[in-house]
């Protein structure tokens, strides 16, 4: 091959174009390789979803839960929720008949969670065992296990697809999770990783409940106001089998207020507030 200097102008031009072409293809291939390496696995997406649902260092929120029975009658509860990592303390403030009842969820070192219930009239704290966690919380369509927003400990991702800017995850309960569902599908926004929809199947594999999350708003961090966390302020759970529905509305939320680990103790369950 002739050296470049000895090439005629048109030959130099062709070589130049070939080089550009090769370079472009090479860059594209390189980018592809890199993006493949950077693409998230299903479990990673699920992890991110969980993190998106529990942003910041800690969260304090006041929520209204409206439970609508199939006949249209409705009950309303108000709860205060404190969250830090995998820990959660929830205290019912309304209605008066249940005010003071509190639930504490603590992650276990070996995996899984332990759940404690405080009944103020009996001055007693009892641990709720795993099998009881699949029961509806105060008769709502959210089971105790739904409220903990803990997914990676409970589900394996068996399939993931992408569509319309969302990840679609097919989830199967882990063998020891003790869930009342036989499976679930979850749609999560690719940008925020916040779930937008989840469908849960019963033990027969029939569609059981549908959860939709909407009205996402950004709430600032108390310790770093420059930082904000997108949060769905409306979560709706529809029980397809019974026709009942439960809606959780976020009335107030504060992030990063500096809740201590001591706050999330059985001892603190008996206290009135943070």
């Amino acid at each position: 091959m002739r050296s470049v200097e000895k090439m005629k102008p048109y030959q130099r031009k062709v070589l130049q174009m070939k080089s550009i072409k090769a370079g472009t293809i090479g860059l594209a291939l390189a980018l592809l390789l890199v993006s493949s390496a950077l693409a998230l696995s299903g479990d990673e997406v699920l992890q991110k979803v969980q993190e998106a649902m529990r942003p910041g260092q800690d969260m304090t929120a006041t929520e209204r839960m409206t439970i609508t029975a199939p006949d249209g009658s409705a009950e309303v509860l108000e709860v205060v929720i404190y969250q830090k990592g995998g820990k959660m303390l929830m205290r019912i403030t309304k209605p008066e008949e249940f005010a003071g009842i509190a639930v504490l969820v603590l992650p276990r070192e070996q995996g899984g969670e332990e759940t404690w219930l405080y009944l103020p009239a009996f001055r007693d704290v009892k641990q709720i065992l795993a099998q009881g966690l699949s029961e509806g919380f105060v008769g709502s369509d959210f089971a105790y296990e739904d409220l903990t927003l803990s997914y990676t400990d409970k589900y394996d991702v068996t399939e993931m697809t992408e569509e319309g800017g969302q990840y679609i995850l097919s989830l199967t309960p882990k063998p020891d999770a003790g869930l009342s569902y036989s499976g679930a599908r979850m749609w999560a926004d690719k940008g925020t990783f916040l779930p937008t929809r989840a469908e849960f199947s019963d033990r027969q594999g029939q569609l059981f409940k549908v959860m939709t999350l909407s009205e996402v708003q950004a709430f600032p961090s108390t310790s770093d106001p420059q930082r904000s966390y997108p949060t769905p302020t409306r979560i709706e759970m529809d029980n397809v089998k019974t026709g009942s529905k439960t809606v959780i509305e976020l009335l107030k939320v504060e992030y990063d207020t500096g809740l201590s680990d001591d706050f999330f103790t059985v001892r603190n369950l008996k206290r009135g507030s943070a």
Partner: protein
Amino acid sequence: MGRLTEFVLRWRVPLLVAVLVATVFLGAAVMKVKLNADFSTYLSQDSPLVQEFNRVGQVFKSNYVGMVLIRTDDIFTTENLALIDRLTQAYEGVKGVDSVTSLSNAVDFQRAGGGLMVGKLLEGKPLPSTPEALEKFKRYVLSKEMYVGALVNAKGTTAVILVRLGQKVSHFKVAGRIDRVTQQIAPGSKDIYYGGMPFLIYSMTGLIIDNMFFLVPLIILLLVGVLELGFRRLGGVLAPLTVVLLAVVWTVGVLALLGRPLDLLTGIVPVILIAMGAADGIHFMRRFYEARAAGSARREAIGVTMREMGTPIVFTSITTIIGFASLAISDFDIIRTFGWATSLGIFLALVATLIVIPAGLSFGKERARVQSRDDGKPRSARGGSRVMAGLGGLIYRRPGGIALLTVGLIALAAVGIPRIVMNVDWTLCLAQGSKPYLAEMLLRREFGGSLPLLVSVKGDIKDPATLETMLATERYLDTLPDVSEAQSIASILAEMNWTLNDRFAIPANRAQVNNLWFLLKGQDVLDQMVRSDNREALVQAKVASLGTAVIGQVVAETDSFLSRLPAKLIVVDGAQAPPAARQALSQLQLEQIKAALTQDLEAKGVSIRPGLLEPALQAGENWSPNEEDYAALRKAITGYLLSPFSEVPFEDQAKAAGVADSITTALRGQGTLLTTSELEALLRPQIQTPYPQDVTSLAESLAYHARGFLNARRVEFAYAQLTKQLPAEARSDGDLAKKLRGDLWGLTSSVLALSPKQYESLQAQYGLVAARTVALAAQPSGLAPVLDQMEKELLPTQIESTLLALLAIMILLILVFHSLRAGLLGIVPVALTILVNFSILGYFGIGLDSFTAMIASITIGLGIDYAIHFTHRFRREFERSGDERAALIKTLQTTGVAILINSFSVGAGFAVLLLAGGQHIRLLGGLTAVALLVSALFTLIVLPALTLLWKPRYLQAPVTERTLRPEGETKQI
């Protein structure tokens, strides 16, 4: 009749075409007729009790609970538990099913591993698979009263899956779906049975269909056989057969057009119409053939028959209609509908007889028939003529003797009638030996029965005083023989209190009720027992029998108990009462506890001698802690302070023990329990904490738990005294022990609910002040009181119905025969038949119920025909011959034979019902068949005897040349 004959013969073609069109139209409607075996719709929907039944069923979804029973050698095997689980899940997915409860998903609350589990027995967990796990599960389940007798029998061999159906669904369809699902999961299983109302409806519907498709062809065959035997002519078979088939199609078609479904009784209307509707046709054809044999031309014979038989046929139809129409005053909708449907059928059969038969007969050869040797009588009847002649002669010679025999028969009946039993079992609706019947027997034997007894309690359900009343009601119901499995939200809360706090008692205050209620929220059991606004709740129990006497007794006793409950309770706190009142309050409290203990012991069959309970109660009342109790309390307080639950953390055991010691010392010195503020004052100097409110909180907890601890010691002490008096088997009964301890827990409370009378008396004496007033109202509900009321009203209603029918018919007869004596005599045979029928019930122990009581009305309607025909013919023959004996013999030989043929054919038709599924229908069929034959015999023997003795006007008139009429000539009535 002459005009009608003319009309029919002139317009025979258009009339027959009209009949054909009507038949096609109504026949098409028949194809769309629906079936209804739903018992609850058989009742009078106007009755307040029925309306209450429907209301309670709607609110609590309690009316339609089906039971799937699985019978095995041992339910507690992995295989059988898996079957129950699979069936439960499958039934939950069946359209029309509201909820399913079984050993798989029954609500379970238990302490396990230091924690609390409120969940399901098996659902969501792996099934026990090792012998140890299965044995453990079996012991656990069989130790719980809320499961034994409700979801599994005491031996653990039969399990029940309770399936609640929705209100506005077709229970027949849903029951069918459940059956199909069962067949898919457990194909061909012989050990699965269905009980309860929805499945009863399913079986009954099948029964209605079976009855119709089996019995109707059978009775048609029977009728054809009888007609052939009686007439030996095609016309004699076809004419009556056509009439009854038309009547059946038209009647069922009308029912379909009116939207009335066929039920258990109207389902047999076709059979009854075929049996009865042929009678007029038989009489018509008999007279027609007589006229033809006498030489009349076809049309002439039709005219003669219409003139002579038309009026009696009309009147006998009217009387039969009256008999069935009298059922219209029944309280049972099913019986009312049966009454008017059958009346309609008879009317349509009459129309068919007077139009279709003469129109049809008018076609054919007009030439006069040569008189044959047999005078139109079948050959088989010639022998019968001789017998009748002999009978006639005997009656003529010995009317007085026959009358005396009749008196003797009445006396015999009078002995049998008082033996009639009112206790009839509604299970007789089922075919004995059928699977539904076996299911019902299984439910009675192993699960306390299938008939729910409900008590609706209205008031503030969450108030402990209301809950105590409900628990007391459960206790009372459990003491009643034939009643078991009493349960309500009260005992469920007591059970939860037992699980959480070791006391089977209603929570002490509303806050505690609310806390336990929280754990039940969302569970089906709450929806099934408490109305959504918490202002009404049900106490449920089961009655072991569907027998009316048992139901009546249970309802009466429940009514009596509930009527003694006050309409309001005045709650007082003895601790706040004037000292002088405390003794009286304490005494009342001990009486209440004693009553509770007595009932709990009685429910377990433990009889106690008077004075046995008082020493234990007094000992419990007077108990005070000793050194051992204080030492145990100190240890418990120390343990609490060192636990993660303590509001203030204690890491130093010695410090915790020191605080505990100070508390027990103070208690010992004070002699009474410390209040929260007293405890707080004791704790504050000993505890250093940056959170002063924690000390307050700790004091509250310690006050509560110390009180609870010492109360438990008091109860144990009293219980120990009590058990010394009890027999060994009572002491070893864990469930009884739990309940007795729960009753004794009353010793620890100073709060008491008084009746207004008690309160007023104490207020007047001691100036007592009420803490609060609780209004409540309790009444029985459910199917049991409905059935009881229906059966109570049954006898008076039926007597009323029977007398009404007899009166109406007597008046008719008087008008027809222009003779009071003839009218009175006319009802004698049916009146005697009714007496004989009831005496059969008494002598053979057949119960009197809604079905067997109907026989009186049916007998009047059918039996009176015989008297009308007989009297009419006898009178005419006497007018012809002037000779009583000859007239009697002639009547017996002609109309008498027809009456016997009729009684056999109609009786045979009813006897076909002996092959029906459902014992009630069989009894109805068999007894009616006997009644018809008896009525015929009374008509042929007793009626003429009494007529000859008493001589109505037509027999008294002097016989002259003018009144004597030659054979064949008739007199218009």
